[in-house]
Symmetry: C2
Subunit: 437 residues, 2 copies
């Protein structure tokens, strides 16, 4: 009661008060309705940096903990706030592993436009997405890259509070979002954290100012809890790359590792990879790091690491060279251009919604995903198009889904008589040392 | 969810949305935690007049309803937001009944400094505070005055929401307070409503501006729901009258009906009574109404109505002339003045807290009240006092309570070398016709 009232009246909660609240709620000693009132008070009053850090730590301390960083040197954690066509993890992990950076990724199943990393990896025949903690850590040490499904025992208070936020209109609150993400990083023992905070129509943070505030809040939490944290703010107005949907994104990730990736995806992977190299102490400058990573793409070492990674987690590594082993979607259709000119808009959210209509993403938690469903964007913003030219191909396993998805997808496009100005991908960068407050 | 989000974002809810929410919560279809989040959003965003009226109506519609006004003509409802020593109802109901105004009061048990009207009436041997609805309405018609305990079936959604507000730090919110009070008036079918909104240290609304806002909100609800509603804002800086505590207040009420009441209590009863006379169409002006009511006190008709009322509800009407029949407190002690001069302050809240220490009020819901415990204030603000003179007598049934109560009570007093400026009792008046918005 006193903690609700204090927050309601704009007071600053002490770490002890926040810990009392989180522990009490986690142990079912504080009822949902009091937690809901507190969350809404936080929604209106916000939290100071020290409060947000205390909340993060209390949630991280609420369950099992790992110490991934201690298990292997040069371990860097990477997290994206998610977007349409975001297969960055599939490229970035083997790429930086080839350069000596270790990554130990605990990944949740995706809720939203397309599947999460675990969904994507489960396209690969035999790939095991649930590793025991012993084999997981051994793989991080030996190979340098490992992904496993996130245990619900990690930061359980975050899971419980998130479920409550989801039904009380208190999801959309920066200190709560930031502490939710960071609590899992802290619980897993990450020492070095690179964050990709996306902004634009296809991102959770539509507005650039909100994305910046979220990034600053997360970097401040990291700093206050002694973790070296860097965040890049990146554009998510149109989908990343050309593939949207699980199996298409795996293929695109492999093509990118082969050195034939779309420019935006390559740029993002090099930028994020360079931050990871710097945190791991494996490069002296961003330029040097980028050059080294580009070389790993060119030389085939990154692609080879992908093969080794798939093999190590029990998957059929032949998919790297024979993508048809990932399966073939039964249905295919085309969207053609209704106009001639330049493509001025390719709305990420609409593309994401069309992919959900195809079955590639979840409209509700727990839904099955059609791993073969997806959209291949043949034209992107800034491309010149002729009338009747194919803009996109869609794929799915249920023919009845084609018509509504095509109709939805058509609404994603906007045309202009002249070439639009190029839109930068990297919008901002924040690190734990340069943070203002 | 959508209703929480809309209110969170400062939107205006439609009557349908509010009704959906109240009905859903009342039927346990909306869980406590969503209602708690909604209440906290209302706490921050407030509600417009139309929303407050819709909330009141939805709560009034959530259970059994009565139609007291239709049962008898010239029925007027009176409600006080409560204060220390507030025995107004005990005086006012027989007084206005003697002048032809009918009152049918549904009263809750008090929570706070002293008991509620039902507690006070239960001091009278044999007095039945639970009447069946048939006999209750018959008594209103025949006698003109009746009081019964409030049924929990009246506006049950209000009871349920109030209990939730109590544990989620959302009690202190004017639209929620106003709709809670008014919902019970509307459910009971009141057509004419006189509200006594108290302000000062002993009142729920400490600040005069808050009391004014609450009064305006309630009068607006009445107006919007077609009820003629008048509110007086009255001072509650020091206790009303000289008696604080159930049996002492009954004695003071009887003395007041006999024409020997303390000036402030008499003034308040005449002011409120005059408003009731006007609403009942029994007087053409406030002056005329006051004069008629003063005559009822002088003539003994008001006191006789008290006798008839007590008799009709099964009580021993001899208490009117033999107050010792109400019982004699086993313990008595005196507080003497530590200084000479004028009494400049007699803090109502502190007196109320001292009376709770004596056992006269409830610290928690459901606690038993010592009906014989109380405080008799021999000196009030503006009185001249000599050093060592008795300021107050205290009474109780448990000798161990004397010392802490005396110590608490001593803190209520402030002295000055000169007579303080007189403080008006009536601070403001608002009616449904003159309301600004």
């Amino acid at each position: 009661m006193e903690i609700i009232r204090k927050k309601r009246d704009g007071g600053t909660l002490s770490p002890e008060e926040i810990s009392f609240f989180v522990q009490g709620y986690n142990r079912d000693e504080i009822p949902d309705y009091q937690a809901a009132a507190w969350l809404m008070a936080v929604y209106f009053r916000g939290m100071e940096a020290a409060e947000t850090a205390a909340l993060t730590l209390a949630m991280a301390d609420s369950g099992e903990k790992a110490d991934l960083a201690a298990a292997a040197e040069k371990t860097v954690d990477k997290h994206s706030t998610g977007g349409v066509g975001d297969k960055t993890t599939l490229v970035l992990l083997p790429l930086v592993a080839a350069a000596g950076v270790r990554t130990a990724k605990l990944s949740g199943r995706g809720l939203g436009h397309t599947g999460g990393t675990v969904d994507k990896l489960s396209c690969i025949p035999g790939f095991r997405t649930e590793l025991g903690s012993g084999e997981f850590l051994a793989q991080v040490r030996d190979l340098g890259v490992a992904v496993t499904g996130q245990s619900p025992k990690l930061a359980p208070a975050d899971g419980k509070l998130y479920a409550l936020r989801d039904v009380t209109a208190t999801v959309d609150c920066i200190p709560l979002i930031a502490s939710s993400i960071m609590s899992k990083k802290i619980a897993s023992g990450a020492r070095n954290i690179v964050l990709d905070v996306k902004t634009g129509s296809g991102a959770f943070m539509r507005q650039r100012e909100s994305a910046l505030a979220l990034a600053e809040t997360m970097v401040a939490i990291g700093r206050d809890l002694g973790r070296r944290t860097v965040a890049l703010i990146t554009a998510m107005d149109q989908p990343l790359g050309r593939a949207v949907g699980n199996h298409l994104e795996v293929i695109e990730a492999i093509e990118t590792l082969r050195g034939r990736g779309p420019a935006d995806l390559v740029e993002l992977c090099l930028r994020l990879g360079a931050e990871m190299m710097l945190l791991a102490g494996l490069a002296r400058s961003g330029e040097e790091a980028c050059a080294r990573l580009a070389e790993k793409l060119k030389s085939g070492e990154a692609l080879d690491m992908m093969r080794r990674w798939i093999f190590r987690q029990g998957g059929d590594a032949r998919v790297v060279d024979e993508p048809e082993l990932l399966g073939t979607p039964p249905f295919r259709a085309e969207l053609t251009s209704p106009a001639a000119g330049w493509l001025a808009r390719l709305d990420a959210l609409t593309v994401g919604q069309a992919s959900v209509l195809l079955g590639a993403g979840r409209a509700k938690k727990g839904e099955e995903v059609d791993l073969l469903a997806g959209i291949l964007l043949l034209k992107k913003t800034g491309d010149r198009v002729r009338k009747g030219e194919v803009l996109a191909e869609i794929f799915c396993s249920d023919g009845a889904r084609i018509a509504p998805a095509l109709e939805m997808l058509a609404g994603a496009y906007g045309f202009a008589p002249e070439a639009p100005a190029a839109m930068p991908l990297l919008l901002d960068r924040i690190d734990w040392l340069s943070l203002r407050s």
